[in-house]
Amino acid sequence: MADPATPEPKGPSRLLHDRRWRAVIAQAAAFALVAALLACAGLNMARNLERAGIASGFGFLDQVAGFEISQTLIEYSRASTYARAFWVGLLNTLAVSAVCIAASTVLGFLLGLLRLSPNWLAARLAGVYVEVVRNVPLLLQILFWYIAVLNPLPPPRQALDLGGVAYLCNRGLVLPWPQWERGGLAVGLALAAGLALAWGFAAWARRRRVRTGRSLPVWRLGALLAALPPALAWALADARVEWSIPALSGFNFRGGGTVEPEFIALALALTLYTAGFIAENVRAGIQAVPRGQIEAAASLGLRPWRVMRLVVVPQAMRVIIPPLTSQHMTLVKNSSLAVVIGYPDLMSVFAGTTLNQTGQAVEIIAITMLVYLAVSIVISLIMNWYNDAMALKGR
């Protein structure tokens, strides 16, 4: 390795002047410093907790929680444990996040495209929307939807009638709810399979169109394919379903399923707010594609939407994805603002009520932080994988 003309100096001084060794030494020093600080903080904390008589450790998770939670996706009661309460909160956070990520991404793409549309009115309206939504604090928007829009809705007896089966009132959105006697799981799975089948068919039809130049009525055949497996499963499993239709009884609805106003307000605010930011990312990504690309595609005779689909969007995606990832992660973290309207998310149930009752702040905050961190990392991994798939080759 070394140049034979200039012999390397021997001894420790050689290491001090070696670029790689210097990097290792610097890293080791930094690590030692951080470790010392953490140890100091940990010791200090342990001593203070002991002096204040606060228990430590994770034993509290098995104790009975003793409080109610208004909305649960899994079975939970006052007699459940704190660990169960943690899962309820986490699932609520994930539910609202999943709904909002999907909805805000779709809405954001539409708004971003609309803002660049040659239609003057549509472009201006999208522009005004984006500016308003991005420049009003999210907390205010959540409170606006909860207090100014959903709260003044009439009580159940004067509920807004949505086609005679669903009702909107100050208790939330009341919907008909299926109660399966048997075959529910089979039909559900078959529906998922049908949708996957339709999606695969659409991809196949596109490849066939490229291969042979002949196209198929993709939408109609796709809908048929999606409907076929659930219909078949229904017949085979001899499915029985009882639709629970909401009906007024006394001062409230009986039957049906209810989407609580807290969920609606939080989902609306998070979706509309994040969509404004995503719209800007989409607009920036599309505008980053040079004009010449669009001109070249148009001069080859491609129609405007094919230019978009085949030339502009594939190139824009590599600009859009990184900020889109961070919007998704921000959305999950912003969902913790649910606390202010009492939506029982992880922050409210675990880092709120549970912490107040047990006083074990260190453990609970640590768990909560780790959970948000883990969710963010998972989103980031998925999006990085997608980004790699979209990256430009040969650069």
């Binding site: 070249a296 080859l300 005779g301 430009l392 650069r395």
Partner: protein, 259 residues
């Protein structure tokens, strides 16, 4: 070469064409007829409206007054007509504009597959045929970013030819190239001219104009000032402005002469 039934109609016919950018009058009463198989070179100082003129021919720019008839179809706001004309008219750009997310081969088959509904296999065969003609069949699976400028421009030529156009427009196709790459692109263009393609070419390559053009059109200030056969135009320009322009590009015209 495929010919339309109306053999005698000109490939391009431009009558009393005017265009404004806001208050700026870019094209002033331009009249130009290009016969089938004819090669026309358009030259002139920068800002003379020559690029704008050829970009009007496939509606990358909109004109405000006058008529443009391409291949017997008049250009109007009718989208169907614009589609038909763009299918028959290929265009080459100064900065190539290959699609960077697609391979060379994919660049070439994109429009035949999605516009003409040519089966992919057939489109690939056609593409390989034209890539051979522009002398880079071995680069078919590379991405544009991996090619030199000259190679990219030759791919762009092949990409146009895959649509089997009746007319080719060239908007300063060699202006963004290094001198040694200009020749490889011009050679391909000369080959193309010999096949009988109708060509309208904005260029400063006077050597190319001499060997290939049937006619040279000189523009200045948005007008066609002079129109003549290349030998006559270069030997004895009729107008003072053309003389001045030729004097300027030939005085430090190493590139022009070398090409």
């Amino acid at each position: 070469m495929p010919r339309t039934p109306s053999e005698d109609t000109p490939a391009i016919s431009i009558r009393h064409l005017h265009k404004w950018y806001g208050a700026f009058h870019v094209l002033r009463d331009v009249n130009l007829t290009v016969a089938r198989g004819e090669k026309v070179v358009v030259c002139g100082p920068s800002g003379s409206g020559k690029s704008t003129l050829i970009r009007c021919i496939n509606r990358l720019e909109e004109h405000q007054k006058g008529t443009i008839v391409v291949d017997g179809i008049e250009l109007t706001d009718n989208l169907k007509r614009i589609d038909r004309i763009r299918r028959e008219v290929g265009m080459l750009f100064q900065d190539f504009n290959l699609f960077p997310h697609l391979t060379v081969l994919e660049n070439c088959i994109l429009a035949p597959v999605w516009v003409r509904r040519v089966p992919e296999k057939e489109a690939v065969q056609t593409a390989m045929h034209y890539l051979e003609r522009v002398r880079i069949p071995d680069q078919a699976d590379k991405y544009p970013g991996q090619l030199s400028g000259g190679q990219q421009q030759r791919v762009a030529i092949a990409r146009c030819l895959c649509m089997n156009p009746r007319v080719m427009l060239f908007d300063e196709p060699t202006s963004a190239l290094d001198p040694e790459m200009i020749k490889e692109v011009l050679d391909v263009m000369v080959d193309l001219a010999q096949t009988g393609m109708t060509m309208v070419c904005v260029t400063h390559e006077m050597g190319f104009a001499r060997t290939v053009a049937d006619r040279v059109v000189f523009m200045d200030g948005g007008e066609i000032i002079e129109e003549n056969e290349p030998e006559a135009f270069f030997a004895a320009p009729q107008t003072a402005r053309a003389r001045e322009f030729l004097g300027q590009i030939l005085s430090h015209g190493q590139q022009a002469a070398g090409a």
